[in-house]
């Protein structure tokens, strides 16, 4: 190979590599723009996935907190209704349904045909607070929770009427 051929070969190779580099650089520039858009979308999806995970963590934390209670069943409603000053319901209905993880959900619906709303709500508040907690102490049993309130006012006396309250509580199945 003569020197001229050798020089020409070196230059051809150098220019070829430069051309390849330039084409690659240009294509990369275009591809990186598309990549940036795709990455932005994926980051948005990741943010949404993290929000879902936080929701799942909230559910797990609630279940774990209830599981950690020393007493697995809520305060007996009969006892609460028998307390002094408590309004007696005219009708009541209870039902239980299985929940995931070895739990049962109790639902009590109490009907007061003509009772003062304030008294019934006071009793509801006491029932909700009857979870074994006291000043400075953590709850020891699952609480009752008011899930539905229906009030129809009596035309004769203000603040009185027909009241329906639905209370719910969870119970560990092994607690009974």
């Amino acid at each position: 190979m003569t020197e001229r051929h050798w020089r020409s070969a070196v230059w051809s190779a150098a220019l070829g590599v430069l051309l390849i580099g330039a084409v690659l650089g240009w294509r990369t520039r275009t591809d990186l723009r598309a990549h940036a858009r795709r990455l932005e979308r994926k980051r948005e999806e990741l943010a949404e996935a993290r929000a879902l995970y936080a929701r799942r963590a909230g559910l797990e934390a609630a279940a774990a907190a209830l599981r950690a209670l020393p007493d697995g069943h809520p305060a007996p409603l009969d006892g609460l209704l028998a307390a002094p000053g408590a309004q007696k319901p005219d009708d009541s209905r209870e039902e239980a349904a299985a929940a995931p993880g070895g739990w049962r959900v109790w639902r009590h619906e109490l009907v007061f045909r003509d009772a003062p709303l304030a008294d019934v709500m006071d009793w509801v508040c006491r029932a909700e607070a009857a979870n074994g907690s006291a000043a400075g102490r953590a709850p020891v049993r699952p609480p009752w929770r008011l899930e539905r309130l229906a009030f129809t006012a009596s035309p004769r006396a203000p603040g009185r009427g027909r009241i329906v309250v639905a209370l719910e509580a969870v119970e560990r199945e092994d607690a009974r």
């Binding site: 150098a14 590599v17 795709r38 799942r56 909700e128 006012a153």
Partner: protein, 451 residues
């Protein structure tokens, strides 16, 4: 350092050597800070072996021609100059070594260049004379151009429009170099000591310079130091074209050697090296080859850098995306509670549905830790009492609300929906015509709900 064709500017030290009848006169030139420091070597001393040297082809062994190209572009003009010179010569251009000096912008649509050339046998003879003295010059300059530019450097012009004649008187040769202002015109050799020939040549050259007028005389060469020899020539020439300044340069015997060293090291006008083509110096060829390889290497490196950075950018981007994908998969699996096979938006849909199912099944668990619905009922009752509203019917759950009642004023009815909205219910208010007791009946319901 600005490079200039014809110089050996990549060397810092160069010796200018004037072979005067076999007795070389050498001047050491060293470039420093854009200037050249010159130092004459003792008489008869030769430059050290391997040192860069610049010699000259005598005026009588070479020639110069002004070429006018009809092309305004310097690049294009440079391509046609050899052809235009070839037409002017009585012998083939291939039998010469040639160099074209710069083609400055003339302001017209033409370009002018000065060609300096020597026939190959003459140039070879000059190189052989150098070789006989143990010198292999890196540059072979044109004596006439060297004398002209050095005279401009050492003897500033009194009048830039005046004609200048540089007379070089050596033991074995003599020459007259003519120019006007900064413009070199021509150079002619004459027999040393032949005043009549010098006079004839001067007439012809000065006619070409555009008439006599004031003439500046510059005397150089070893003969200029010889008072009798100088007077023999100076007398008749200055008698005919006297009146202008006449200067004998300092150390006239080393004038050409100074010129050669200066021109080899510094860029400037009319630089010339006739060691081209078949006479090219091996060192220059090696340098040209090295420059070519370096340039190719730089191009290759630039290509590799471009390709490498593109590949690196792609790799970084891919790794970043893979990291986000990995975190997303882990998060979505944890949110759904099992390994979700779908990806992207589909995976989100699957996880959301699964989470909705789980949340519905565990609603009572969450309710145990949420604010009591009794608080909401108390807030509704307090707001109603505060704005004089009578509630006839109230139904509340955690997600829905319905209130029917009456209010004393139209605007007062708005307090209750505002309070419910603040508690997180999306409600609508419906007010009707006042009743007989002038109270305004209203109804508040959850949007989309019928509770």
């Amino acid at each position: 350092m600005k490079t200039s064709p014809g110089t050996v500017s990549w060397r810092r030290v160069c010796y200018g050597v004037d072979l005067q009848a076999g007795a070389p006169v050498a001047v050491r030139g060293e470039r420093a800070g854009g200037r050249v420091r010159l130092k004459a070597l003792p008489s008869g001393e030769r430059p050290p072996a391997g040192a860069a040297c610049a010699c000259a082809v005598a005026v009588g062994e070479s020639f110069t021609r002004r070429i006018e190209s009809p092309l305004a572009s310097a690049r294009k003009a440079r391509k046609v100059l050899p052809t235009l010179l070839d037409i002017q010569l009585p012998f083939p251009l291939e039998s010469c070594v040639t160099m074209f000096t710069d083609t400055p912008e003339s302001g017209t649509d033409k370009r002018e260049a000065l060609a300096a050339a020597a026939r190959l046998p003459n140039a070879r003879r000059a190189l052989e004379a150098c070789a006989a003295q143990g010198i292999d010059p890196l540059a072979l300059d044109h004596e006439g151009l060297a004398l002209w530019t050095q005279s401009r450097r050492e003897v500033p012009a009194a009048d830039e429009t005046a004609v200048r004649v540089v007379a070089s008187l050596e033991a074995d040769r003599a020459a007259l170099v003519v120019g006007r202002g900064a413009r070199y015109l021509n150079a002619r050799a004459f027999r040393p000591g032949d005043a009549a020939q010098a006079l004839r040549l001067a007439r012809a050259q000065l006619d070409q310079a555009g008439g006599p007028g004031a003439v500046e005389w510059v005397w150089a060469g070893s003969g200029a130091a010889d008072t009798a020899r100088l007077a023999a020539l100076r007398g008749p020439l200055e008698a005919e074209w006297g009146g202008g300044p006449s200067t004998v340069v300092r150390e006239p015997g080393a004038f050409l050697a100074r010129a050669l060293a200066t021109r080899a090291l510094l860029p400037g006008p009319l630089r010339c090296n006739l060691r081209t083509g078949p006479l090219a110096h091996p060192a220059q060829e090696r340098r040209a080859r090295r420059l070519g390889v370096t340039a190719a290497g730089l191009v290759l490196a630039a290509g590799l850098v471009l390709a490498g950075s593109a590949a690196a950018a792609r790799l970084i981007a891919a790794r970043r995306e893979a990291r986000v994908d990995h975190v997303f998969r882990n998060t979505i699996d944890a949110a759904a509670g099992y390994a979700v096979s779908a990806r992207g938006a589909d995976a989100l849909r699957v996880a959301r549905a699964e989470l909705d199912r789980a949340a519905a099944a565990r609603r009572p668990f969450l309710a145990a830790f949420r604010p009591s619905l009794a608080d909401t009922a108390a807030a509704v009752a307090a707001t109603a009492a505060q704005h004089g509203l009578t509630i006839e019917q109230l139904t509340l759950t955690r997600d829905t609300a319905r209130v029917d009642g009456t209010g004393g004023e139209w605007a007062a009815c708005e307090a209750l929906p505002a309070r419910l909205a603040a508690l997180g219910y999306a409600v609508t208010l419906d007010r009707r015509e006042a009743l007989v007791d002038e109270r305004i009946p209203f109804s508040i319901t959850t949007e989309g709900g019928d509770d």
